[in-house]
């Protein structure tokens, strides 16, 4: 949609292996300012891993990731901190600090990176929590709120510094349809209103088609399909059709046997596996 806008993210020939298994195998795409890129794909296909490479918290086996025109893969901690101040990230688990309250979690980036007064910070925290529908929850601890609420607090925290770029890993999973709509609306407002760029991992097709300006579907480590929501909806690719319509039968294998699974999955060699086998053999 914004094909002429400034390029915010450039991923080029990104490869990541765990052991022998390439979870990401030669991934390339660009994201432009104001775009909302939705990344889809089956569970375990590497969406969170792709996100982790984009935010510089995992180093690729090979390939490059550029944020705001700067290569992040080779950056030192110090350099990458400067880039990280410009984006926010919502983790799949929320990743709230368990020792802080909800309010303190949202205030954390503000306390660390701005000179705002405590009153101003309190005001901003209130406002961000209100945006995600959590007014009045400031003083609860993360273990006192539900999974969906943690997600939303994580989103409020990711937005605390008004980032130019937002990564969110399944922001709407675990939310009811109304809250999903609220979060989608929020993403839309931010991308339309402030030209924020968003990269959203989502399984929820209604939500995905509501917010996306571009979509990517991952599978077997590479990009199965990419394009505008319309292009994806009308894609002739049977895998895409199966996925967006949630059909149980189709080209995507459903029941991997243990063997096939291990073949697909890198399993960390367990120390003393042979000994464990013997032990079980003898006791049973």
């Amino acid at each position: 949609m914004n094909a002429n806008g400034e390029t915010i993210i450039e991923v080029n020939h990104l490869v990541r292996r765990f052991g022998d298994r390439a979870v990401l195998d030669d991934i390339s795409f660009n994201v432009h300012r104001g775009d909302t890129l939705v990344i889809m794909g089956g569970s375990g296909c590497g969406k969170s891993t792709l996100l982790r490479h984009m935010i510089g918290s995992m180093k690729p086996t090979s390939g490059s990731v550029k944020l705001f025109g700067e290569e992040v893969t080779g950056m030192s901690e110090r350099e990458i901190e400067r880039v990280r101040l410009r984006f926010g990230m919502l983790f799949q688990s929320g990743a709230l600090l368990a020792s802080l309250t909800v309010g303190e979690n949202v205030a954390l980036p503000l306390l660390q990176h701005t000179d705002k007064s405590p009153d101003q910070i309190e005001e901003i925290v209130k406002q961000k929590l209100q945006m995600v529908g959590l007014t009045g929850f400031e003083d609860l601890r993360p273990d006192e709120i539900s999974g969906g609420m943690k997600k939303r607090v994580g989103l409020a925290r990711a937005l605390a510094l008004d980032p130019e770029l937002l990564f969110s890993d399944e922001p709407t999973s675990g939310l009811d349809p109304i809250m999903t709509a609220v979060v989608d609306e929020l993403t839309l407002n931010l991308t339309k209103g402030t030209h924020m760029t968003a990269v959203v991992v989502s399984h929820d097709m209604t939500s995905a088609f509501r917010i996306a300006t571009r979509m990517i579907m991952l599978g077997h480590g590479s990009i199965v399909a990419q394009g505008t929501p319309d292009e994806i909806r009308n894609s002739p690719n049977p895998e895409v059709q199966q996925f967006i319509h949630g059909k149980p039968d189709g080209p995507i294998p459903l029941n991997l046997s243990q063997d096939e699974h291990e073949h697909h999955q890198y399993v960390k060699p367990r120390p003393f596996a042979w000994a464990r086998g013997r032990f079980h053999g003898r006791t049973r």
Partner: protein, 246 residues
């Protein structure tokens, strides 16, 4: 090992270099950790030190009686506590109570992606999590050691006063006469060194946990064992330097 050395360098950077670049450490989290690491360990330290003081006095009474040298009981209690038992035993308590707690806490944060989240928010985990704990430990372990020394001496006094023919003044005078300031300082130097070892080993174990709750447990146990070994070996080295080389 490489991780451990890097962590040490990084802590030194945040303590000695970063403040001159305008990145001061915050005071409030240090106090919070001091309460957590130090103040809450005080009752256990007191009980341990008192028992040790009592035991030392009884053993001394038993051995010195045959020599007719019971007058030296306070000397023995005092010197053993100040030079060896105080720093070592209180470090053992703090390893078991606070070192393990720090390793488990940071380990849990690691497996629940909290550390990664901090990094992504451009907050350095060493600066934010480790440095306050290092300061707290460096202050609290020596403080607890002094506190423990007092309680231990009190234990020795209890035995001398109520079970042997000492009066309070005699005990106090004898104890003070025997000890030199160096005995106290050497113990303090030891406990500062132990504090550094304990907290860096605990933090390193926590930050490098892999693989879920099981990993947290394993790392915590490993950190306790490593701290104990490192502390005892270091104690032997320091005793060698302080009392054996001159």
């Amino acid at each position: 090992m490489k991780n451990y050395l890097l962590l040490n360098l990084s802590i030194l950077y945040w303590i000695f270099i970063a403040p001159f670049k305008g990145q001061f450490f915050k005071i409030a989290p240090i106090f919070r950790q001091m309460v957590f690491i130090g103040v809450r360990a005080a009752p256990m330290v007191a009980l341990t030190a008192f028992s040790v003081g009592v035991t030392l006095a009884m053993q001394a009474a038993h051995s010195l009686e045959s020599l007719g040298a019971q007058i030296y009981i306070p000397d023995l209690v005092m010197l053993t506590l100040l030079r060896e038992m105080g720093p070592v035993l209180i470090a053992v308590i703090v390893i078991g109570r606070s070192g393990s707690a720090v390793a488990a806490e940071l380990g849990t944060m690691k497996v629940s992606e909290e550390i990664e989240a901090l990094e992504v928010m451009a907050i350095n985990p060493v600066q934010y999590l480790v440095v306050p704990r290092v300061f707290a430990m460096l202050v609290m372990l020596p403080a607890l050691t002094i506190f423990g020394n007092y309680i231990g001496i009190l234990g020795g006094w209890a035995v001398c006063r109520y079970a042997l023919d000492f009066n309070t003044a005699g005990y106090v005078l004898r104890a003070l006469e025997s000890a030199e300031t160096w005995d106290l300082y050497s113990g303090m130097i030891k406990s500062v060194v132990f504090a550094w070892l304990i907290i860096t080993i605990a933090c390193n174990a926590g930050l490098n946990v892999e693989g879920g709750a099981e990993g947290v447990g394993q790392s915590t146990t490993a950190s306790v064992v490593e701290s104990l070994l490192a502390m005892l070996v270091m104690n032997a080295i320091l005793t060698g330097i302080f009392f054996f080389s001159a």
